[in-house]
Symmetry: D2
Subunit: 306 residues, 4 copies
């Protein structure tokens, strides 16, 4: 094993037991590729050669259904930050190239930067800010942008920057340009009941980097006023869906959904109230999984290793 | 109170305590009308005048949402069977007429007659036959009709009549006529994964008397192969829906629905297996509620007093 | 009907249609008594004589199981506030006495006064304060009492009075006396993850007026650190329970419960995080039902008309 | 890689793509050991050396909570059956020994042999027999033993051997001896609502090889008549639990649980009816996971890779 000149930490290799990583020397590797023989062996051997220890490994293969393979691997390596570029380059030239992999490596010490967009309904936003404040959302919330000024104080109470960007029928392009600039540097945008529809031009600049909470159980009730649609349809369960935003409204890859039972006794107002609770829980789970690098997009679906 | 010459059982009226009904002298009254003052008082007074005792009373009013009123009332009255026609006529001429009610009275001693249609998938059918055999389905299953011969022995094992009515592209009208004749006398038809689409002509002859189990969580995935549709969409919950059949495919009033959580790990085959369990439980609940007279149709929705 | 001199509003009596109540002239009547004939008729006739209109009526009878009867009735009556004392006195002397009823009448215009106790975990508290601020909790929150000072600012941000009442091994009786005084005038106390155990003396002064959120699915895991107990037991679902506090710890009548699926992958820390979400939703539902007068205590159980 | 003289199938090793296994040349490897570095690499390398392909891999490590490691790995290898003894011996002497593993290898072509015990309630039994008949339960049901004769015909209708072994206060030891003999050769016993309590002597002879369905949500309501206990307690959710049987009644490692919402409206009879549906679904899931080798027992808990 040790003929590999890329080995950095021989002391780690020789060790029989798991070492406790110093600081946060852990990283997450996400892989997507054609299903083929020897992936686990190749990846684990590569990890082992660097003297890293696998913390968690999840994989899924659709060999019978089209042949795609997905892996999420977390590993620990003392001094990782110093060698991560070398690690990535090596992986790219060897394992990833040989298996034609689509892959990403995240240094877990670097938090995902998140910008939130909101309109007037604040339940989903406040839930995210509250969790974030208590360290329950593993990311850095950089700012909140809203087309209304109402939530400025509430957001600032959390010590987070608030920007008011009004949107009218006439200024949509300029508003989106302003939002794009304000969000520059973020890894993820979260639409926490942001009621403006982002143009496909805007969306294309943030591919699979925008998570929206739609207040229905998709694919049912796309578009406007889904709780009224649900009420009129007489469904016995209502729900909410968190998904990546694509050019097509409410059609992007679904990350998480949940439902709650209702009866004839719940009118539209009550459905909205019940729905708000589902929305904030679903959005929080989806955002957390994304920032923990647990979501891999495959076609118009997601593989979530949670 | 006793100026009403329709009173039959003065001894019951005078009694302070509930009497245990002899035999099954109970009935269920279902009412639908415009919401207005005095309905409860009028109905309960009428019941009381006959010396009947209210066992259960459920009501719902959408006064703020359009003004409809719904009531389900079960009462007990010794010797009910002897006077039920008189009871109904009186109710019709007085309370019902005065409040312009849409209503039905069911003598609980008379079981709903149910005919089942099935194709090849037998899970929903067998579940109904098994529950019925053990007295858990409060109705009389009169026969099972199938477009395939496969389930003949399984059905006859339950002591129930089986009819094979093949359906081809060319004989559809005759087949439906035959089915209609075989089902004559039934109060309810249950499509337990019957894969033939009944014509609107057939459906019109059985208004709100056909319950179908659709293998998706409506309104998502109408039509064919919904589990494949669900798989392709990447939903995180799959479900089944029991509904009354109307002229429009999969669009009739929903009676009951349920869902089950799935992940990327479940391929189409496994979704179908999970779905079968949801289907039979949902269908059994819906059929039971219908035969217990717990379902009132309002527009394209249902009010279920369960 | 009109020989009753207590009738106030003849125009209402004569009316065939429901009138929209002026201001909030509605009330909720809760009844518990031995199951007997004629209750619905007696109560609805009484309501009707006053010219009041029934908005909702829910009832349940355990005739076969011990003979108890429960009713929740909401009615509207213009000018109710002026005559409510007379209404109550009449009801007491006639219907209630005749049927030996245990009953309460609530003028819906008068909001339930609620005091909250909390320690350090603020998720359940903040959820209640947030819902209350948005009019989603139909009561008046008068104050928050805590044995720690940490949440003072957070509470005051909602414009609600905060009291710090430290509790040590030696001052428990005095602390409870102080809490009792601070809470004087409240109709309900809510323990929103208040970690001190209230003495049975304290509890007796607030019979069925204290709601606690216990962080397990009772009766499993009573007492301390239930999430660790749940983790050690290896249950596949964890939950939370809202119940009335009685002298026996975690044994009072259960109002609401809910669960969430977990696997071996969730350690104790994660179980607590998942549990917090269940706790706040369950507590909010239970408190809302209580302040809407939807809960009737029967023995050590509750009948919830929701 | 090929210095290993144990390699059989060089053509397979050289292959770059996944081969479709001939017949059912797949196997499942279950591993439990102290968490340590290099397990994935060691195991995947061993698999790869034999020319086998990994189909699925699941692992879990509790490094922070006590240091246990669990893995389930399915692999395919043409001609597996011919070399499986050699494979096992090699694994034992090398990887397993080096890492001090507790492990088992199952040739997936060999079905788990299952014997079922039942008393009078047949819902759980029939559900298993029905699923088995349709190939939805991946095992071989060898026989059904009952302390009552009632279900003989129902079982024989499925073409399965039925044994009647009556149990009285006086013959318990002999009855258990007889059951033990009848069950000889089985890998798993399933108590599908078998109401006799097996002695600890019997249980010790079948360690972690008996699955019971208990009709409550454990640890709540152990022992007899749990639905009545649940009714008296006034819980808002009832459930069922499938677990391995140990010497302590209802205390063994939990495999699966589920619940269903109930209200005051459901009396004991109805709770039992609802419960039966939960029981059969929970038992079927647990048995299926066991026979698919998805369950690893760890202490008094289970790790289920499903």
């Amino acid at each position: 094993m040790s003929d590999n000149t890329k080995t950095v930490s021989l002391s780690t290799i020789a060790s029989q037991s798991k070492q406790i990583p110093s600081a946060i020397d852990t990283a997450t590797l996400l892989i997507k590729c054609k299903d083929q023989a020897g992936i686990v062996q190749a990846v684990s051997e590569f990890i082992h050669r660097y003297g890293a220890n696998i913390i968690t490994l999840d994989q899924y293969s659709t060999a019978h259904e089209g042949g795609q393979y997905f892996m999420r691997l977390e590993f620990a390596l003392a001094g990782l930050s110093d060698i991560i570029e070398n690690f990535e380059a090596s992986f790219a030239h060897t394992v990833a190239k040989r298996h034609d992999m689509d892959w990403r490596l995240h240094n877990n010490a670097t938090k995902t930067k998140v910008g939130i967009l909101v309109s007037k309904f604040d339940h989903a936003l406040l839930d995210l800010l509250w969790r974030h404040q208590r360290g329950l959302l593993d990311c850095e919330i950089t700012c909140v942008v809203s087309n209304h000024p109402d939530l400025k104080q509430a957001v600032q109470n959390f010590g987070i920057t608030f920007h008011h960007v009004p949107v009218t029928k006439d200024n949509k392009a300029e508003a989106e340009e302003q939002i794009h600039k304000l969000m520059a540097g973020n890894d993820l945008l979260v639409l926490a009941r942001y009621m403006q529809i982002l143009s496909s031009d805007f969306v294309k600049r943030w591919p699979m980097q925008i998570i929206n909470i739609h207040h229905s159980f998709l694919p049912a009730f796309v578009g406007a006023d889904p709780y009224r649609q649900a009420y009129d349809k007489g469904v016995k369960l209502i729900g909410a869906t968190a998904h990546y935003v694509t050019a097509e409204l409410d059609q992007g890859p679904i990350i998480e959904q949940d439902v709650h039972r209702v009866t004839h006794r719940q009118g539209v107002t009550e459905l909205r109230a019940i729905g708000r609770d589902i929305e904030r829980n679903v959005l929080a789970r989806a955002v957390n999984w994304h920032v923990q690098n647990r979501v891999i997009v495959a076609g118009n679906k997601t593989v979530v290793f949670n």
